[in-house]
Amino acid sequence: MRFRATVESVSVFYKITQSVEKLQKRFILKFTPEHLHIICNHEANEGGTQVWSLIKVESIFTDYRIQSNSDNEITMALSSEALLAALRSPTASSVSSSSYQAEDIVMKLAKKNDRAVLRFDIIATTAVGRRAKVSHDVVVDVLKPHEVAKLSEPLCPDPNTHILLPPLHKIRTIVEKLRPMSDILAFRANNNGTLQLAIRTETANVQTEWKNLTNPKLNDDEPPPEEEIDMDKIFTVHVSIRSFLKFLNCHVISKTTIACICENHCLMLYVYIGGHADVGGVLTFYIPAIIDGD
């Protein structure tokens, strides 16, 4: 089992980790020859939100070499906080006037005291021009093939509607104001560019509405639906406002986000990394519906 890569876009890696770090303490990284998958599938996390992501290797790494007995895939579980801490030091230094400037970051699977670690070797230049080598070891548990086989994405019915969300930081401001008022958020959208975020409590009903958003078609080759659909029909899903806020943490990375409503089932959010033309990856959030909400 060999694994080694240069982290080229450390800030992208950092921001993705940051987006999912709040969700659960440990998450799964699955490296395949083409993709990096970040998986949060714990039942125990806040509200049962799951994240399945697929990121192209070349959007973060260069010099990527991977070798293993199971189709050259390596799957590991690790502490999100520890990974974040390891990535923070080179990220911070490239932005602020830190004590050193990272030049080269190599990530590799190594062994230390009989434990598997993900080692980050950072070659840096200090403020006075000296070369420095900083090394972070993040303890990981490499998953066995039968454990990996158990991982499966949640199954969802066909969504009722897809809608392109407004900038997430704007939604975040609004949802943060709603948070002290209610625990449950109603997420509504139709196929005609309308999105509504609403809460309903004893003291207040608050609803924010966007109009003229885009309803994208995910698959262009999909046959048109047989029966005529009502474009203005509003579909609703109730979700935990805290789970939704945790999803909104990924406003740091998101350029384009598409939300899909599966009524009475879940809210799915596709967060695209990178521009529209060259999508570097997508994070998929599944937020389960609260059925008896409202």
Partner: protein, 352 residues
């Protein structure tokens, strides 16, 4: 209740920051009683039967203000300060929720909990007295969350149908952006606590720039529990009017603010200088103490105001009136300036 009747109150404003700043000034208790008259709105709040605050928002602050009395001729009258009988309607609303809704886009101003920090105060213009409404003065009373917010105005339309109906707020940032509709429950108003401040019984009357008062209050440590106003008539060593015992200070300060708690105390003297105290009238030596936490509730109001009037009557009832700067575009019309009125009872054991 006839349903075809027009709403009791319809009001709209193109920039809600001014209204939000005034409401924030009295936001120390969640339940606020709103009284609507043709002249405007009064929002009253009380806590612990000891401190009351009222914000007066006049009708011409709004771009549109239509008041339809619910019962044209009824016993529902109220006496205003001008001793005129005018029609009014009142209801109670959860003030915190209203403010959260006004700030839903994060554009109403900085968050309500952080207004006391010294950092925010230093940014404030020392010369906040001038009656100009340019961009700087606008930023003086409300600090926008982000720099872009100062150019973008968030408009608001408020509707109140009649008793039993919710207060409806329609908030929009711009034409293309989202709109927020808030329906906020209203309640039957509780009788309002009136301390009956009598201007005839006033023993101390001071008008000063709010910045001088604000700076003094901001110096005080939050752990203090008591604040005392000490004042003496200028250049009068003794006052024959009262035979009661008085606190004697060797220097006979004309105005001293003294605050203390378990960990220490602070004393601040104001000079008898026209630049500091615009007007100063003291009939007799005065020393009244108040709970510091109560006085501190006025901080948010003093922060956004330009002038402060401080009056104390002979029972120690404190009245603090904060004049707010006139809204943008209406600088010449001093009538439309809102003000906030705080009244606070003195601590019993300190009454002379």
């Amino acid at each position: 209740m006839p349903t075809e009747q027009p709403p009791v109150l319809t009001a709209s404003v193109h920039d809600l920051r001014y209204v939000a700043a005034i409401l924030r000034g009295v936001n120390f208790h969640n339940r606020a009683t709103v009284t609507v008259t043709k002249q405007g709105l009064t929002v009253k709040v009380e806590e612990a039967r000891t401190i009351t605050a009222a914000a007066w928002i006049f009708a011409d602050i709004f771009d549109e203000f239509i008041y339809n009395p619910e019962t044209p001729t009824d016993d529902d009258f109220m006496r205003t300060t001008q001793d005129q009988e005018i029609e009014s309607s009142s209801f109670e609303m959860p003030l915190n929720t209203v403010l959260d809704c006004l700030n839903i886009f994060g554009t109403a101003a900085s968050s309500t909990g952080t207004g006391v920090g010294k950092k925010g105060w230093k940014k404030q213009n020392q010369d906040s007295d001038r009656e100009s409404g340019d961009e700087e003065a606008g930023g003086n009373r409300v600090e926008p969350l982000n720099p872009n917010a100062s150019e973008k105005h968030t408009g608001m339309r408020l509707t109140y149908m009649s008793p039993g109906y919710p207060l409806t707020l329609l908030i929009a940032e711009d034409v293309v952006g989202p709109t927020t509709t808030c329906e906020i429950s209203t309640y039957e108003p509780e009788p309002y606590l009136d301390f009956g401040f009598d201007p005839e019984k006033v023993v101390l009357r001071i008008i000063l720039k709010s910045s001088w008062f604000r700076d003094a209050l901001s110096e005080l440590d939050p752990s203090y529990d008591k604040l005392t106003f000490i004042s003496n008539p200028p250049e009068m060593s003794d006052n024959p009017m009262t035979g009661k015992s008085r606190r004697r200070n060797p220097t006979k300060p004309i105005l001293r603010i003294k605050a203390g708690g378990n960990f220490g105390s602070t004393e601040m003297d104001y000079p008898n200088d026209r630049d500091v105290l615009e007007s100063f009238e003291c009939m007799q030596s005065v020393s009244f103490s108040y709970r510091f936490s109560h006085i501190a509730k006025s901080l948010r109001a003093v922060q956004s105001s330009t002038k402060t009037s401080l009056r104390i009557d002979n029972d120690g009832l404190l009245s603090l009136q904060f004049m707010m700067p006139p809204p943008k575009g209406k600088e010449n019309n001093a009538e439309s300036s809102a003000f906030i009125d705080f009244q606070c009872l003195a601590l019993d054991d300190e009454i002379i």
